[in-house]
């Protein structure tokens, strides 16, 4: 498998280096170096080290195979060293000059940037990737066999780093075996054949609710789907419970404490009422508004109609007037047609100014208002002696009362002799005048 020689990209190499525990490859390298020196003293180079790490990489997941690999290794090394020995003799010499193993370790990642090697590496990249995938597959299989969360998480982390280098995704742990085991440990028996429904009272609907929700953002649709799920469950449960003879419906005379207190329900009711009244008021207001708008329209229409009528009549008058003037100037001798026309004009005029003229024409007096005022306050005729008495007024005894006469208030006052207790009424005007004249 490691035959390719230098087929690893530098990045992967460095990564592997970090992944592999430090002490292990070092010691191996030392071993290998010894063997190489034994087999072919000139054949130690970077390529070998790469191979070395490749094999390490594969050893990590399956350490059991380790023994066989190490047995094989010397032969491989010998092959590769033979192939590469001619090209990189100089480097080898340098390294061997100072037998500084730590330095070699450090150098192997950096000093690889020789041109000829790089080309080789690029060629072999694809193959390399495939191999890596294979190894990962092996790891996965192992995971599935023995479920260990720590190992899982470790592998996952590696995966994350390789697959989604930039975006940080949460690790996904879904240990189905573990979940089922946990479930088995504490699950209640809800088998409908062995356990009555009243024992658990849980219903699992046959279909997924999510499928009946077109959009999760749509509140109405979503809640409807939830209600439907519960409604179906409630129906099913009621049927089952009735079959088992478990009381379901609360009788109307069963009173007990409820989850939501009466105060809360009162509040809810108040809110409902308030909402209803608000709605009603809004509807009323809208109606009123509409009506107002409509009424205005009617008024405007009426005004327009009136204006139109007025304009029409004025036009007619003007037209007639003009015609008449023309007729008058043209023919001095009045024809019969003109006479007829005059009559027509009069009629029109009387029609148009009917309202003002009619009242005046109807009464023979000057003005009804004047007439009324005249009757009220008097107009014309003699004003003198209007209030003086005559034969009729003297004969009128409607104002006389015998009782009053007997009480004597009037007469006593008139006589001037004052009786105590009874107040004399105020005398008439003429009497008062006469009295004034006496003094």
């Amino acid at each position: 498998m490691a035959k390719k020689g230098a087929t690893q990209s530098p990045k992967a190499g460095s990564k592997l280096k970090s992944a592999v525990p430090d002490h292990k490859p070092k010691t191996k390298k030392i071993d290998r170096r010894k063997s190489n020196e034994l087999a072919a003293p000139k054949a130690v180079d970077k390529e070998d080290e790469w191979e070395d790490e490749d094999s390490d990489d594969h050893e990590e997941p399956a350490p059991k195979v380790n023994g066989s690999k190490t047995a094989k290794r010397p032969a491989e090394d010998a092959d590769s060293s033979e192939e590469d020995s001619d090209s990189e003799g100089s480097e080898d010499d340098e390294e061997h000059g100072g037998i500084d193993l730590a330095a070699i370790d450090d150098s192997d990642s950096e000093s690889e940037l020789d041109s000829d090697e790089e080309t080789e590496r690029n060629d072999g990249k694809g193959d390399r990737g495939e191999e890596k995938e294979d190894s990962e597959d092996e790891e996965d299989e192992e995971d599935e066999k023995e479920i260990d969360v720590d190992e899982l998480s470790a592998e996952d982390e590696e995966d994350e780093e390789q697959i989604a280098a930039g975006t940080r995704v949460r690790q996904t742990i879904n240990n189905k075996e573990g979940l089922l085991a946990a479930l088995r440990r504490f699950a209640l028996d809800t088998n409908p054949k062995t356990v009555p429904f009243a024992f658990h009272q849980s219903v699992v609907s046959s279909k997924k609710t999510e499928e009946s929700i077109p959009s999760i953002e749509d509140d109405l649709q979503r809640e409807l789907a939830f209600v439907n799920q519960s409604l179906e469950a409630a129906r099913q449960a009621r049927a089952l419970l009735r079959k088992e003879g478990v009381p379901f419906t609360r009788p109307t005379d069963y009173f007990a404490e409820t989850v939501r207190s009466d105060e809360t329900m009162q509040k809810v009711k108040a809110k409902l009422v308030e909402e209803a009244t608000a709605k009603k008021a809004a509807a009323e207001a809208r109606k009123q508004r509409d009506l107002k708008k409509f009424g205005k329209q009617v008024q405007v229409q009426k005004l327009q109609e009136r204006a139109k009528q007025k304009r029409e009549t004025l036009d007619k008058i003007n037209l007639l007037k003009r015609k008449r003037q023309e007729g008058g100037s043209a023919a001095l001798g009045t024809t019969e047609a003109d006479d007829i026309f005059d009559v027509a004009v009069d009629k029109e005029l009387s029609n148009s100014k009917s309202s003002s003229k009619k009242r005046g024409a109807a009464g023979d007096g000057p003005n009804p208002k004047r007439q009324k005022k005249d009757t009220k306050y008097g107009f014309g005729g003699k004003k003198r002696f209007a209030k003086s008495g005559d034969a009729v007024s003297a004969g009128d005894l409607s104002g006389f009362s015998a009782k009053r006469m007997k009480s004597g208030g009037f007469a006593a006052g008139g006589a001037g002799g004052k009786k105590k207790g009874v107040k004399a009424p105020r005398p008439g005007k003429s009497r008062r005048k006469a009295m004034a004249g006496k003094r």
Binding site: V149, H200, S205, T209, E210, Y254
Partner: protein
Amino acid sequence: MAAVYKSLSKSSASKADRDTEASKGGMERKNKQRVLILSSRGVTYRHRHLLNDLAAMLPHGRKDVKFDSKSKLYQLNELAELYNCNNVLFFEARKGKDLYMWFSKVPNGPTVKFHAQNLHTMEELHFTGNCLKGSRPILSFDGAFETEPHLRVIKEIFLHVFGVPQGARKSKPFIDHVMGFSVADGKIWVRNYEIREVEKVKGNDDKDNAEDGEKSKGRKSKGGDKDTDISLVEIGPRFVLTPIVIQEGAFGGPIIYENKRFISPNQIRAELRRAKAGRHVARMEQQRDKLARRRDLGLEDGEKKDGTGLDTRELFA
């Protein structure tokens, strides 16, 4: 001799019992659940009200005072043992805004950690539904709960925590609400509805309806008022849970499920902040570039004046 008789009679009796139970449906299968409900310190009022709502719905729950630590959650195991509880529902509040809900089976796992979002308590939702305190709910699970192992674990834990066990101490004998758990968008949506039994709309026979009304009043034991239809009215609370992690033990042990779709709210907030800051940075960079460009072209004000020598002040000095 007496002992032998006793043992014999006991065995026979137990056998008989078992027979009857088998016919009845198994009494030895006792569903004994008690839930310790508590929160960490630093919860908001809304978290607290949600906790109260849930506690009101779980007659087999025991509410405890706030737990002081957020790192040593394994101490909850002892606490639960102290209170004889085998389930723990723990509200962990972070930063005074994020709520994480832990559901755990106490002695030996598993534990599920959720991130709770879109919390709405019963009181703030003005729904008209109501139900008896402590009546056993019907748990309605989405079909998706049977598909994935982690969802099955979650469903089982919900069944233990939210399902009121039969004959729980403070439970009421009637069933009047449904709790719905639905999976959508990788989250679990929890709803709570009242079951209202209404007269069937298309009931054409009035007499039949009246009869059934009487029947329901008369508290039938057999399947009586078949024709009443069910309608649901929401009660509340509402919340959405995003599963984050499932641990094998109770507040400990290896992680057997981790949701990779979950992004922590902190990260989201940081992303938003960064995006906002990015705009500013971009603008400043643009400005700097513009200045540099102008300088390169010699369009800076001072240079222009000097270069041309056509300034009015210079010409007519």
